[in-house]
């Protein structure tokens, strides 16, 4: 394999891993606060369509990004209301959110099909860093959203493990009753992180429609939201591991077509299956490691909190 091909695969791994990374980071926040949100796919789709719509109307991709984040956040609030206030089953509510988001985005996106985005996020080479051989073209000749995700991962890691609000967040997810007794607002924090999680998922969707494709297409996430949920488990709810996992998935995704282009004798149907096979493998490995380490996610994950039942 020559160097150019290798660089192309690794650079594509970063690009196609980025939407999954945003969604996974959002889900980590929500799950750390104890709320499982299976509506990732729906929030990504709604983010993708609304971001694209705003970018077409205003010719400004940054405005599109903001609208996408808002839309993802609003959708997540529905989930928050259902599961936190009404204590509905989180799995059912999340699934409903995905179905709802898929339908809503298809409905809203109808007039947008076939329109090219006027302004999109284009790759920008970072001076100096972009010139490093091998690493430069892989990591530093990407678009702004990728750079933003480079910043977001260490910030979130630091926030989660090294700050007081991060500690509160983890406490709410591990033992909400204890956190409540400590005077931490369980309900308000859960609301906050579910909403922020939705915003990040919306940004992940907008990355698809404003940088990766960049067009709107019905159901364009093609299961990336579900992959992100699997990735959260694989990452043990850790942003840094989520970054590695996302690029691994992106790499497997990008590999398929490049293996074909080189002319290997592997059926293309099998190559298209790779990311999904990989998801199953990763889940098996993560579960094994999780049970060995005795770490199986936030203690109160999936459980509604009720003050009166203490």
């Amino acid at each position: 394999m020559d160097q150019m091909l290798l660089i192309s695969i690794l650079a594509a791994a970063v690009t196609s891993g980025t939407p999954i990374l945003y969604a996974a980071l959002g889900e980590i926040l929500a799950e750390r606060s104890g709320v499982l949100n299976l509506g990732l796919e729906g929030m990504m789709l709604v983010g993708a369509v609304s971001g694209f719509m705003a970018a077409v109307k205003t010719s400004n991709p940054w405005l599109g990004l903001m609208v996408a984040a808002l839309a993802g956040g609003v959708l997540a609030l529905i989930h928050a209301f259902l599961t936190i206030n009404l204590r509905a089953n989180q799995v059912v509510s999340g699934l409903a959110l995905t179905i709802f988001g898929t339908g809503l985005s298809g409905f809203l996106g109808k007039p947008l099909i076939g329109i090219p985005a006027p302004q999109t996020f284009k790759p920008v080479t970072i001076p100096l860093l972009g010139k490093i051989p091998l690493l430069g073209p892989i990591l530093f000749q990407q678009d702004y959203l990728v750079y933003l995700s480079y910043l977001l991962v260490p910030i979130l890691w630091f926030y989660l493990y090294r700050t007081r609000p991060g500690l509160h967040l983890r406490a709410v997810g591990e033992n909400p009753a204890a956190a409540d007794a400590m005077g931490v607002g369980v309900f308000s924090l859960r609301y906050l992180y579910v909403a922020v999680g939705g915003m990040l998922a919306g940004i992940g969707g907008a990355y698809l429609s404003l940088a990766y494709a960049p067009t709107w297409l019905e159901n364009m996430t093609a299961g990336r939201g579900w992959i992100a949920i699997a990735l959260v488990i694989f990452s043990m709810w850790d942003p840094v591991r989520a970054l590695l996992g996302s690029y691994l998935f992106g790499g497997v995704d990008a590999l398929g077509f490049r293996i074909q282009a080189v002319g290997a004798m592997i059926p293309s149907f099998f190559l298209n299956m790779l990311p999904y096979i990989f998801t199953i493998l990763v889940l098996i490995l993560a579960t094994r490691e999780g049970s060995r380490r005795g770490a199986a996610g936030p203690g109160a994950l999936g459980l509604p909190y009720d003050r009166e039942e203490r």
Binding site: M4, L5, S8, I9, A12, S16, I78, F81, L82, N85, L86, A88, A96, I99, F100, T102, G103, L104, S105, G106, F107, K110, P111, L112, I113, G114, I115, P116, L208, Y212, A213, T215, L217, E218, M220, A222, D253, A254, F257, R258, Q260, A261, V262, G263, M265, P267, S268, F269, N272
Partner: protein, 373 residues
């Protein structure tokens, strides 16, 4: 307190369900606006079933252009559409619905509708069904398609002349005879002017997925391709070529607006005249079932406009071949044609039969890639 919560819960659920139904309420039948309820003479009703959205800038868009042409030429016809109909049991329901509504002709514009068309046609013997790209007919079911391989060959000449690396990439949809035929015709065109060039094929296994198609094109660019051709319904591959600063060959419709610096030309569909012919024949009662495979001389397929980077001598070369095709003296798959291993499959001077072309399952010499079985 509890009661109130329960009430709130059901209210929200109700809202969710309503939204969901509203969001999913498609495929919708988009009927043209009806004129004022004047006692106008009853218009003849025809219907089109599309596999994708009208705005896809590709396959379905081309069919809808044909429908608009029909409305223009025959103002006394009413032509409704149903978009994004999946190639499954839903198709049967929609076809039945359209037949019930009194449509006289129904055009089913995707291969996968085939068996559903036949089943519904049996129940409605007085409705004419026209199925695009299929091979099964009945008394009231005809099939129609175009010899897209002819303009594809011509676009191959352009690509063969414009490549510098002698590697041409081809983003292909599904490994079926129609697509394989196109790849072969394109490669023959390339090699007729540039015997050193090869055509690398990558399968996406999708008709319509911009991100995937773009990614596939990037894979081809990474192995040195400097012209990207495509058998896909979106401009994704052409856009990938433009991003890299190399050339592309579009498909379905003129794709220059999506990648003006890249698109050399595009083999295009032009369904309008055929739709007029069919509807007119049904109206006059002269329609008969048959299998129509229209050549370039009928105008159903053609080579779209050139980009500004194509030099005049290349255009002349293409024009000369085009004349041979139009006159019917020569066709693309005329021997000698070798397969990938170099053994002669079509002897010198021999023409491939339609049956052989319709069941193509091997690549000609010069194609690099495999056909998944």
């Amino acid at each position: 307190m509890l009661k109130q919560k329960r009430f709130l819960f059901w209210l929200t659920m109700l809202l969710l369900v309503t939204f969901f139904v509203a969001g999913c309420a498609k495929p919708k039948t988009a009927e043209p606006p009806k004129p004022a309820p004047a006692p106008a003479p009853a218009k003849m009703k025809v219907a089109f079933v599309y596999v994708g959205p009208v705005g896809d800038a590709g396959w379905t868009f081309a069919h809808d252009q044909g429908r608009k042409y029909l409305l223009e030429k025959m103002p006394d016809v009413e032509a409704s559409i149903v978009e994004s109909v999946p190639e499954g049991a839903d198709a049967e329901r929609i076809l039945t619905e359209l037949a019930e509504k009194g449509n006289k002709v129904i055009f089913a514009t995707s291969f996968g509708y085939m068996d559903y068309v036949l089943r519904v046609a049996q129940k409605y013997p007085n409705v004419v069904f026209e199925h695009c790209s299929g091979y099964k007919t009945a008394n009231n079911v005809g099939t129609y398609f175009g010899r897209m391989y002819q303009p594809r060959y011509l676009s191959g000449i352009v690509a063969g002349k414009m490549t510098k690396s002698n590697i041409i990439g081809y983003v292909a949809a599904h490994p079926i005879p129609e697509v394989i035929r196109g790849i072969n015709a394109f490669t023959l065109g390339v090699r007729s002017v540039n015997p050193k060039a090869t055509v690398k094929v990558v399968w996406t296994n999708t008709w319509y997925d911009p991100a995937k198609e773009k990614e596939a094109a990037k894979g081809l660019l990474a192995v040195g391709a400097d012209v990207i051709a495509q058998h896909q319904d979106t401009p994704g591959p052409a856009q990938a070529a433009q991003d890299k600063g190399v050339y592309a060959v579009g498909y379905n419709t003129d794709m220059r607006s999506f990648a003006p610096k890249a698109v050399l030309t595009s083999p295009v569909w032009n369904w309008g005249p055929y739709y007029v012919k069919v509807v007119d024949a049904v109206k006059k009662g002269t329609w008969k079932s048959g299998q129509y495979w229209g050549p370039m001389s009928d105008g159903v397929v053609d080579l779209g406009p050139y980009g500004p980077m194509v030099p005049d001598d290349v255009k002349k070369l293409v024009d000369a071949k085009k004349q041979e095709l139009l006159s019917g003296k020569w066709d693309v798959f005329t021997g000698p044609i070798k397969d990938q291993k170099g053994s002669v499959k079509v002897a010198a001077g021999q023409k491939m039969s339609d049956a052989d072309m319709l069941s193509f399952n091997w690549f000609v010499e010069g194609v690099e890639g495999t056909i998944p079985k």
